[in-house]
């Protein structure tokens, strides 16, 4: 398949994040960043031609899933029950759990639709503050007649799904049951109370608490009334979204400084006293609730999106694809300003091993034991996003973008780039206690499919005789690594990588002059193979 590289889709991540599940305690968490220029799959904006094509495949697969028996974990409603059993809200596993949920779901749709290019489109509600028209077509809305055999009333829904669910419940492992206990589901009936809205304290059903939604009321917004109200539109406005992308900590106890919601003992801990991040607490929640009819339909019953069976509404996955995209935007913003994009070392030891035990894979098999660290990276699913709001990272990078200095372009000769950098910028870079303020953009060709190496070290200011370094070398700036099957590299020309420059004086030839020459070279990592010809290099002072 063709690959498209989007300017904003390159991303770096901790090499070791992929190994997080294997043993968080062993995670080296120094910033050893490297990038991949393009992914195999692209999650398109639903309003784009690529998005429309994907939606057609999505609809095909939904029909298949609706018609599967309830004993099949890929049945459309059974898939939604994964969310009932396991979804975290109001804690720092919100993004990563949903990345795993969407990842497996995307593979399921790819498999069932037989569209080998399928990736979940995203709904960019900041630029499109209304349900996309295509999502009122056919089975893309849960009010469609195809849902009626299963959801036309609660009795029908119960008789359809409950026997299979009880059987599944009785098959759960002790570890799964322990998680359900934490969630407040010590037995099947307590879980089912969230489906039918029964309150044990009030000893009566409360319509607004009912996760089940009757077919005709499964979504409040309609083709004739697709737009957000003013308050929901505000929740998805650039001002709010930018504010949510602004924090520079993956997690901070001060929620105004935290990209993620609160740290809790378990991803199943109820929100209770916890703090919601701006993006989860505001656009995420408000869009969910308004689509279900919170406000206009008070006091309920509401449509699916308001409650825990929200994945019954196909718009759920487009909404969460956009949330995941914003996580990716935030990650790349962090990289662009030289800030960490993963939990700190101690936090990672708590974050990564959290067990996620309820996923179902593309073959309809239970995934079994997996952990949060397995889903930190988008590379696991090999996807990227077509650009959406914000279209530049600058709007959300103001924290460190105090000087907005222009790029410095280097000259390349004999595989060495030389860049004339103001000495004051280098001094500031060396003096800054935390993140790198000098970041290079290095362009090199993708190694071919027969290349023995796909990882290359970036050297800054290294003497000519130095051809390999370790991470302690003052000249070492990081390792660029190309990911994926190298057979996919055919036809890919060049890739550009952002590399924070080392904070070692030896890497820079600072003298009395106002301008210092900075040399950059690429050498094969691990001492194997040859380095590709360096194409271009620039440096920007952040």
């Amino acid at each position: 398949m063709n690959k498209t590289t989007f300017p904003l889709s390159r991303r770096t991540f901790l090499k070791t994040s992929l190994a997080a599940g294997a043993g968080a305690a062993s995670l080296p968490l120094t910033s050893h960043a490297f990038m991949r220029p393009a992914a195999k799959y692209t999650r398109y904006n639903v309003m784009s031609p690529g998005g429309e094509k994907a939606i057609a495949s999505y609809a095909r697969a939904i029909k298949i899933m609706l018609n599967l028996p309830p004993t099949n974990p890929q049945n459309w409603f059974r898939n939604a029950f994964i969310h009932i059993f396991d979804c975290p809200h109001g804690n720092w596993w919100f993004y990563v759990w949903h990345r795993g949920f969407l990842g497996y779901f995307e593979q399921t749709i790819r498999n069932l639709s037989q569209d080998s290019t399928f990736a979940i489109p995203y709904w960019d509600w900041t630029t499109q503050p209304e349900i996309p028209p295509i999502m009122f077509n056919d089975v893309l809305t849960p009010v469609h007649e195809a849902f009626e055999p299963y959801t036309k009333n609660l009795a029908v829904f119960t008789s359809f799904i409950q026997p299979a669910l009880k059987s599944y419940w009785n098959s759960l492992s002790a570890a799964q049951r322990n998680q359900l206990n934490i969630r407040g589901y010590p037995d099947f009936d307590s879980m089912w109370n969230d489906i039918n809205g029964y309150s044990t304290s009030a000893k009566q059903g409360i319509s607004g608490n009912m996760a089940y939604a009757i077919t005709c009321g499964a979504r409040y917004l309609s083709r004739d009334n697709p737009k957000f109200d003013a308050k929901t539109a505000y929740a998805v406005s650039p001002f709010i979204v930018n504010s949510g992308l602004y924090p520079t900590d993956f997690y901070n106890p001060d929620i105004t400084l935290s990209f993620n919601s609160a740290k809790t003992p378990s991803h199943n801990s109820p929100p209770g006293q916890n703090s919601f991040s701006i993006l989860e607490g505001y656009p995420h929640n408000k869009v969910h609730n308004y689509i279900g009819g919170v406000g206009p339909l008070d006091p309920g019953p509401y449509g699916n999106m308001t409650n825990f069976l929200s994945p019954v509404d196909p718009i759920f996955f487009l909404h969460h694809s956009n949330m995941d995209r914003l996580w990716d935007v935030w990650t790349r913003k962090q990289q662009s300003i030289g800030k960490p994009w993963l939990p700190g070392p101690q936090d990672m030891q708590v974050f990564a091993p959290e067990p996620f035990l309820f996923y179902v894979n593309s073959q309809g098999q239970y995934v079994g034991a997996s952990v949060a660290g397995d889903y930190l990276s988008m590379e696991r699913w090999d996807y990227q996003y077509e650009p959406g709001y914000p279209d530049t990272l600058e709007t959300i990078s103001r924290a460190t973008n105090k000087s907005a200095r222009p790029k410095i372009r280097g000259t390349v000769r004999a595989n060495r780039a030389t860049l004339a950098v103001p000495a004051s910028a280098i001094q500031e870079h060396l003096a800054s206690p935390a993140a790198a303020s000098l970041v290079a953009a290095i362009t090199l060709p993708h190694p071919g499919p027969t290349s023995p190496t796909r990882e290359f070290d970036v050297l800054v200011g290294a003497p000519p005789g130095v051809t390999s370094v370790d991470v302690d070398s003052p000249y070492y700036a990081g390792t660029i690594a190309f990911f994926g099957n190298m057979a996919h590299a055919h036809g890919m020309a060049e890739a550009t990588f952002a590399v924070p420059l080392p904070k070692k004086a030896e890497a820079f030839k600072l003298g009395a002059a106002a301008i210092a020459n900075v040399d950059i070279r690429i050498v094969p990592a691990h001492g194997r193979g040859r380095a590709p010809a360096l194409k271009a290099a620039t440096i920007r002072a952040l």
Binding site: I255, A262, P271, F276, I278, Y282, N285, K286, Y290, G295
Partner: protein, 123 residues
């Protein structure tokens, strides 16, 4: 990097369906600082929302709990406060409890606390 938790609630005023809370910053804002409104929620029914706006009707946000099991507290939420909502180091916030097509002032069990926080952007 630093964060200051400042604030305080001077008085409640009944006004229309909601309740007006006057929050005060104890000092002038410095350059590169932003103000946040933190809302700590208690237990509210599914579908209930807390609308937050200035007294001249500028929206600050809506707390719309989602993913909270029935009869559990709804958590804590923060909203950015636009500079134009701050006047003489004060932010007057009207809180309105909205549920079942009716609006009223929230009780102290529904909204447990409200405060301003100041965060430096120069981190």
């Amino acid at each position: 990097m630093y964060t200051l938790v400042l604030t305080f609630l001077l008085l409640f005023q009944g006004a229309g369906a909601g309740r007006v809370v006057n929050l005060v910053l104890p000092r002038d804002l410095n350059a590169n600082e932003v103000v946040w409104l933190e809302v700590k929620m208690g237990v509210v029914p599914r579908g209930a929302e807390i609308e937050l706006e200035t007294t001249d009707g500028k929206m600050l946000g809506v707390v719309s709990p989602h993913g909270v099991r029935a009869e559990n507290e709804a958590g804590t939420y923060v909203f950015p406060v636009p500079p134009e909502a701050i006047s003489n180091n004060r932010v007057a916030v009207r809180m309105t409890f909205s549920y079942a097509q009716k609006k009223r002032a929230p009780t102290s069990k529904e909204v447990k606390s409200l405060r301003l926080k100041i965060t430096s952007q120069s981190r």
